[in-house]
């Protein structure tokens, strides 16, 4: 059996009085891609953002339950949130590069971690950009603004920026929904490459994407997980009626 990197038990989340998550039990295996699917507003982003504590930024949020990263409760009072976010990186739906050069974007986390050695930074930039499958497109203009790139290129630069700080887990919230099919496919292929080194948790509305690249799939509905299983099993042979309806496009 594979090693479980993140486990969550009976996780509830309240936005004020509204209970957005009603008891989530999930576990994510090392070096697998887990897809989270479900209709709009069912709580996928909310759940994803629990895993690196991005919900801490929102006022009036209450979280109960137990979320562990490698056996340690990440909501324990002595958790170093900054350290946690280095271990658990995040890619957002909208590409959000800093308005600096491509190079500076990628090495940003490293520079702030105190690395100044130019050769080391250059090397990290190249490795990360290659891993994010965008090196060939940008290697001649590393010092141009990242904002001058197309959306798909920007998103891959953002992925490189996360890879550069070498997280163990990468959270992705609909990373390809703002991109054209070609860019999406490029990113999907890249994720398959990255799987051998990272644990990836991916929110997507694209069923084809989930079935093509994920090992496991969790189906969310109104703040709970209806079904969580191997992607192949679930897509071919869903256990629950609700899952089947959703996969066949019968609601949502």
């Amino acid at each position: 059996m594979k090693k479980q990197v993140i486990t969550s038990r009976d996780v509830h989340l309240f936005y004020g009085d509204f209970e957005a998550l009603t008891g989530i039990d999930l576990a994510f295996n090392e070096h697998e891609i887990t897809a989270m699917i479900g209709p709009s507003g069912c709580g996928k982003s909310t759940y994803l953002r629990i895993l690196n504590r991005m919900n801490d930024l929102i006022p009036n949020v209450k979280i109960t339950g137990d979320i562990e990263l490698e056996g340690k409760n990440i909501y324990a009072p002595d958790t170093d949130v900054v350290q946690l976010r280095k271990q658990v990186g995040m890619v957002f739906q909208q590409p959000n590069p800093f308005p600096f050069s491509i190079y500076d974007n990628v090495v940003y986390g490293l520079r702030l971690a105190g690395i100044k050695d130019r050769a080391q930074l250059d090397e990290a930039a190249e490795t990360s950009l290659k891993a994010a499958a965008i090196w060939d497109e940008v290697k001649d203009k590393l010092h141009e603004s990242a904002l001058s790139l197309s959306g798909g290129q920007q998103q891959r630069v953002c992925i490189a920026r996360v890879l550069a700080v070498r997280p163990e887990v990468i959270l992705m919230d609909e990373p390809t929904s703002a991109l054209d099919p070609i860019s999406s496919t490029q990113i999907e292929n890249m994720l398959l490459e990255l799987r051998s080194q990272y644990t990836i948790i991916l929110v997507t509305h694209n069923m084809h994407q989930a079935s093509r690249i994920s090992d496991k799939t969790a189906f969310f509905l109104q703040g709970r997980v209806v079904e969580f299983d191997d992607t192949k099993k679930m897509f071919l042979n869903p256990k629950e009626k609700e899952t089947e309806d959703y996969l066949n496009g019968r609601f949502g």
Partner: protein
């Protein structure tokens, strides 16, 4: 009239209004410069003023203006940065913050004469600083700080939440995100605001008449010890600035060439403020380009 014609008409009216504004501005500037520039010479810019005879310059007033500007910016820029960052990044949305914000808004719309009178009562009389550079710099700070603070806050708010999220998700602390992501992105706006503020301060008269005073004692430009009374750096000496000088000559000047001195001084003042504006644009653009690409 169909939509197309209406559009044409509206555009035409807008163009006309814009044209009138440009024309007004150009003729005002042109008038002041044409009247004043012939009187401006190196001698005029460097020699002291004369109270009763012709041939006086504006050297000391010019120096005073610059010194006061530097001093008041030295006081107000750090405070404005601190206050702006606090309001934009840390202040909770509660009634105290609302009160602070409203106070800043009211302060920034206070007429400068009122600020000057306040400065007179508090700094000149109460604190016993007298008519001095120090009183003047503090009054200018009162006058400038609210606008600078608002400018910093607004510039920081322009940075989208996604950028802050990106910083935090990379494992930066809140403070690091502010310092390394938000501030660099808003720096061009902040710099522009500061330079425009500097221009306003440079041309300010009303706030200074009763604080920095209306006399410009002779200075010894070879003595830079701030504790000597004749030193240009002495912060306790009275210091009439260029703008105050212009006001004074026009209200009670008895020099035979008062009109010429006033015209010349106005031209210099306008040129300086113009320079600040151009500098603001130039530096703002440059910084933005620098920050957004090669750095």
């Amino acid at each position: 009239m169909d939509a197309k014609q209406k559009d044409k008409l509206a555009t035409g009216i807008l163009y006309a209004i814009a044209g009138i504004i440009v024309l007004l501005l150009a003729s005002l500037l042109g008038y002041i410069l044409i009247q004043g520039l012939p009187h401006v010479s190196w001698h005029f810019l460097t020699s002291p003023a004369k109270a009763f005879e012709a041939g006086g310059g504006i050297g000391i007033q010019l120096f005073n203006s610059v010194y006061l500007l530097v001093l008041s910016m030295l006081i107000s820029v750090p405070i404005a940065l601190g206050a702006g960052i606090y309001l934009a990044e840390y202040a909770k949305a509660n009634w105290i913050t609302d009160v602070v914000r409203t106070a800043i808004e009211i302060l920034s719309s206070l007429p400068s004469v009122v600020v000057g009178l306040f400065g007179f009562l508090v700094f000149v009389l109460q604190f016993n600083f007298g008519f001095s550079i120090l009183s003047g710099a503090l009054a200018l700070t009162m006058f400038n700080l609210p606008l600078l603070t608002r400018n910093v806050e607004d510039s920081l708010r322009q940075v989208s939440f996604a950028q802050r999220e990106a910083g935090l998700a990379l494992g930066l602390s809140r403070w690091e995100t502010v310092i390394h992501v938000v501030i660099p992105e808003s720096l061009p706006g902040i710099i522009t605001g500061m330079i425009l503020g500097a221009g306003r301060v440079f041309g300010e008269a009303a706030a200074l008449i009763y604080t920095a005073g209306q006399s410009a004692p002779a200075l010894n430009f070879s003595d830079w010890n701030p504790f000597d009374i004749a030193s240009p750096l002495n912060p306790i000496r009275p210091a009439e600035t260029l703008a105050v000088h212009i006001w004074k000559i026009n209200s009670e000047g008895i020099q035979p060439d008062a009109a010429a001195v006033s015209a010349g001084a106005s031209a210099v003042l306008i040129l300086a403020v113009l320079l600040f504006n151009i500098l603001a644009r130039f530096l703002g653009n440059r910084l933005y380009r620098k920050m957004t690409a090669e750095s």
